[in-house]
Each structure stands twice: as structure tokens, then as C-alpha cells.
């Protein structure tokens, strides 16, 4: 009987203290800086082109082979009259978010700090009706940083 009374008192205490959950779509919990959603590509605002040179380092390091990288000669390279020091630049880039396991290895192996993990809520809310829509192409991967909507964190 004493134990039952104690249990009842415990739940009553919780009843008085009130809820600890919050209403999800209305109120988003603040998200830590290091949060890892899905990887995205960064935009070099100085030269107005992606940082990524398409060096395949991330593609090779990816444990689940969710990336596909194609590079091309950079039309904006200084030798061609542009202002970029990158001889090669990314041509096409796909990341299959459905396969990505968010291990951060691509960020670690990148020599150009061109890729980062999305640490915003929009990076988590990626529900779609068709799995094929989770295969992100280059413009989609660049969009968020290009629009300045992300304060990225790259492991030191």
C-alpha cells in the first residue's frame, strides 16, 4: 500500500509540474551548432562559384556510396580570363539523401572545405512523397548556403 501511495504521489507531482514536451511544428527546439542533418555544398561568395572542385575525395570516402561527382574545366579560371584560381570545378553533383547516413566523413575528407553538414531545421524536415525526390542535384545542394540561410559548422 505504501508503494502504491508513493507511486500516486509521484505522478501527482508530475501533474502539478506541467508538461515538458512542446508542440512540434509550431515551436522548434533550438538546434545546436554542430547538428548534422544532410550534407550540402558551400558557395564561394568572393568568386561567385562553388568551393567544390569535384576532386572525388568525398565520393570515395562515403561508406554508403550516396554521392556522384562529375568535374569539368573551370570556365572562370584565370587562364581563361576569369578570376578563379580553381582549374577544375564541379560540374554535376548528386547526393542521395535516402542513402546518406550522415556520418560526417565527407566533411572530414574534403580538402577545400567545400562541403558541410546542414545544421538547420530545414535540413531535417525533408519529407517527400517520392524517394527519387531525395536525390539532390548541384543547384539544390548549393541553394541554402548561396541564400545565406545557414551558419555552417565544420569540424576543426
Amino acid at each position: 500500500m505504501r508503494g502504491i501511495v508513493r507511486s500516486m504521489a509521484t505522478t501527482l507531482g508530475a501533474f502539478v509540474r506541467g508538461p515538458v514536451t512542446r508542440e512540434y511544428p509550431e515551436g522548434h527546439r533550438p538546434i545546436p551548432e554542430r547538428d548534422r542533418a544532410f550534407p550540402l555544398l558551400l558557395w564561394d561568395f568572393e568568386i561567385d562559384e562553388p568551393y567544390c572542385t569535384g576532386c572525388h575525395a568525398c565520393e570515395r570516402a562515403c561508406p554508403v556510396e550516396c554521392m556522384t561527382v562529375l568535374m569539368k574545366d573551370n570556365p572562370a579560371h584565370t587562364s581563361l580570363g576569369g578570376n578563379s584560381s580553381r582549374r577544375k570545378i564541379i560540374d554535376k553533383f548528386w547526393i542521395d539523401y535516402a542513402r546518406c547516413m550522415r556520418c560526417n566523413i565527407c566533411v572530414e575528407v574534403c580538402n577545400f572545405d567545400a562541403i558541410a553538414m546542414n545544421n538547420t531545421w530545414s535540413g531535417h524536415e525533408t519529407s517527400v512523397y517520392d524517394r527519387a525526390d531525395l536525390v539532390m542535384d548541384l543547384p539544390q545542394l548549393l541553394a541554402q548556403h548561396k541564400a545565406g540561410a545557414i551558419d555552417e559548422w565544420v569540424a576543426p
Binding site: G3, I4, S7, T10, A14, R34, R36, I105, P156
Partner: protein
């Protein structure tokens, strides 16, 4: 559809009850067929393998850094512990010296993970015993606090991929120590609350005492490990008996039960959480500045040929990694010895002769993670 023949008309038959794979109480996709006579279980046949993803085979194709991420997926409630076994195996095989700070942080994180895993257990177990979600929500509340800390450190709430052969992926945030103390404070409160909600409750006692008892000899014979084994009175704790990290430098008790019944398995875990809090507090005192990775670490890690069976004490028991290397940057064979796999084998022994309702409680008391069982 089988029609009753006149001869069978009056004989009572064993009712076969299928629990799982889609049943509210099976903790994942697990199926057991219960033979039931009235309300008493006469036979149990467990079926596993619904979650088999071939993690061992996959790891054979992955280098040692990639493999860490996969270890998370074999044991999703105690990821740090799973990662730890793997990286320790690689480090010992490759002869890598890990900096002190990294080791202490690993210990803190592993013990915190044990706390979160045991919270998860008490919650799920409360539901199995029939508390309508209250224990579950309370324990999730506490677990959430721990996961928040993990997220601040690693960036992910569940699949941390934070340990690396050699140390840690990156430094913990600056406020790490204060945050850990906050978490411990709330964890202590959570343990107390769980204690007062369940441990003394007469109905809870009536449901758990004397149910699913297994003797020490049987438990050893079945290869059980972790709290499920210690509940039977076998003081086998790899943190003390087969030390790794800096466990010999901290002071903690190995908690054992007596009867080996469901209540003991629950109570051992609850008391173990207090020990974990103690361990973390001691670790915090030892924590000092320093590097988190060795100075000379090759970009692509290779191990010499050889083999190692590295075992650590995960929340559910012995999590072993049997790593065979023939040189190169990936395992030749990787075997994951999961604790639940062995513990679950004993289910039949524990359950037969009890009531149907007890079958659920006994299954819950082993604290299975089907991901780990099936790998």
C-alpha cells in the same frame, strides 16, 4: 481453417499465440510463438532475423573509419559503447596509443550512454508491466536531456559516429563540463523518480518478483551477460574483470541480484545507473586538457595481420568485436558478438510455465534491441 472433427470436439487444445513481428510488445520486429494452455505458456519459439542487414559483411568492405558509422547501427541504444568496442579493437590491433583526454571523454560518453540506455529500458519495461506510458514518458524525458548533450557534442542524436580509431572525431564543446554536471543532476532526479514510481509499487512487485527466474549456472551456460547475468548473482562485469579505458582508476561497485528474476534484472539496472553517475563524476575530476588524437596518425589506417576479440561492457552486456585482419585498411572478417543475442536464447528457459502476460514482461526484462540481435 481447420474444422473440428467429432473426436476433437471435447479435447482442449493448446492455443498458439503469435506475438510479433507486428505486436505492441515485442520491442522491434521480433516474433515469438507461444503455446498456451489456458493462460499458461507451455512452449516458446522465438524467431529473429527480421532486422538482419548483414552489418558484418558490410564492414568487410569498409575501412576502419567508415566502419565506425556502421557500429552505431548495430546497437542504436548504446551507440558509443558499440563504437568503443570497434575502435578499441582497431587501436589494439594497430598498436595505436590514444591520448588520455580522449580516453576519459570516451568513458564519460559511454557511461552517459549507459544511463540513457537504461532509462530507455525502465521506460519500456514499465510499459511491458502495464503502466500506461507514464514510466515511458518520464524516462524519455531524462533520456532526452542526455541526447541533447550528445547532440551538442557530436551533432547527432542517435548515430553519433564520433569515436575514431585513435581518439575522437573532434573536440567537445567548451561548456562540456558544466553540461555534463547538469545532465547528471537531471539523471539523478530521473532515477529517483523512476524508483518511487515503480520499485516499491506493490502491483509492480507482484508482477515482477519470482517471474522469469534463471539460476546463475543456467545463465552462464546460456552465455548471458550484462545486467541480465548479474541479476542471477554472477558478478561478471567486464569493466572490472577485463578492464579497458581507465576503468581500473575509478571506483565503482559491481551490482548483482539474487533471485535472477525479472525484478532483479530491473533493479540491477536501476542501481547500476547510480554507479554510472558515480563513475562519470570521477571521470570529470580526471579530465584535463590535451590532444584528442595521437600526433602521428596515418591518413589511411592500416593494421598488421592478426586477430583480436575486443569486448566491452555495453548496457545490455558484453559487446564483442572479433576482428580478423590480414593486413590492409579493412577487416578481413568482423564478427559482432551482441549481448542480446545470447540473452535472448535463454528466453525459452525463462518463460515456459509462466503466464502469457509474464512472457511479455520477461522479454522486456532482457532489454533486447533487435537491431543488435540480428545485426
Amino acid at each position: 481453417m481447420v474444422a473440428n472433427t467429432p473426436e476433437q470436439e471435447f479435447e482442449t487444445r493448446e492455443l498458439l499465440i503469435n506475438m510479433g513481428p507486428q505486436h505492441p510488445s515485442t520491442h522491434g520486429v521480433f516474433r515469438m510463438v507461444l503455446g498456451v494452455d489456458g493462460e499458461v505458456v507451455t512452449d516458446v519459439v522465438p524467431y529473429i532475423g527480421y532486422m538482419h542487414r548483414g552489418a558484418e559483411k558490410l564492414c568487410e568492405t569498409m575501412d576502419f573509419r567508415q566502419g565506425v558509422g556502421y557500429m552505431d547501427r548495430t546497437e542504436y541504444l548504446a551507440n558509443f559503447n558499440a563504437e568503443l568496442s570497434y575502435v578499441l579493437a582497431v587501436e589494439r590491433l594497430a598498436g595505436i596509443e590514444v591520448p588520455e583526454r580522449a580516453q576519459w571523454i570516451r568513458m564519460i560518453l559511454c557511461e552517459l550512454n549507459r544511463l540513457s540506455s537504461h532509462f530507455m529500458f525502465t521506460g519500456a519495461f514499465g510499459t511491458d508491466v502495464g503502466v500506461f506510458g507514464t514510466a515511458f514518458v518520464y524516462s524519455f524525458r531524462e533520456r532526452e536531456v542526455i541526447l541533447d548533450l550528445f547532440e551538442e557534442i557530436t551533432g547527432d542524436r542517435l548515430m553519433y559516429a564520433y569515436f575514431r580509431p585513435g581518439g575522437l572525431a573532434w573536440e567537445v564543446p567548451e561548456n562540456f563540463e558544466t553540461r555534463v554536471h547538469e545532465v547528471l543532476l537531471s539523471a539523478r532526479h530521473g532515477i529517483r523518480e523512476m524508483d518511487s514510481l515503480l520499485t516499491e509499487n506493490e502491483i509492480f512487485l507482484a508482477r515482477t518478483k519470482g517471474v522469469g527466474a534463471i539460476s546463475a549456472a543456467d545463465a552462464v551456460d546460456w552465455g548471458m551477460s550484462g545486467p541480465s547475468l548479474r541479476a542471477s548473482g554472477v558478478p561478471l562485469d567486464l569493466r572490472r574483470d577485463d578492464p579497458y579505458l581507465y576503468y581500473p582508476q575509478v571506483d565503482f561497485d559491481v551490482i548483482t541480484g539474487e533471485a535472477g528474476d525479472v525484478f532483479d534484472r530491473y533493479h540491477v539496472r536501476l542501481r547500476e545507473m547510480r554507479e554510472s553517475v558515480r563513475i562519470i563524476e570521477q571521470c570529470m575530476e580526471h579530465l584535463s586538457d590535451g590532444p584528442i588524437l595521437p600526433e602521428r596518425l596515418p591518413r589511411m589506417l592500416r593494421t598488421p595481420p592478426g586477430e583480436i576479440y575486443e569486448r566491452t561492457e555495453a548496457p545490455r552486456g558484453e559487446y564483442g568485436i572479433y576482428l580478423v585482419s590480414r593486413g590492409g585498411n579493412r577487416p578481413y572478417r568482423l564478427k559482432v558478438r551482441s549481448a542480446c543475442f545470447s540473452n535472448l536464447q535463454a528466453l525459452r528457459d525463462m518463460t515456459i510455465g509462466h503466464y502469457v502476460a509474464d512472457a511479455v514482461v520477461i522479454l522486456g526484462s532482457i532489454d533486447i534491441v533487435l537491431c543488435e540481435v540480428d545485426r
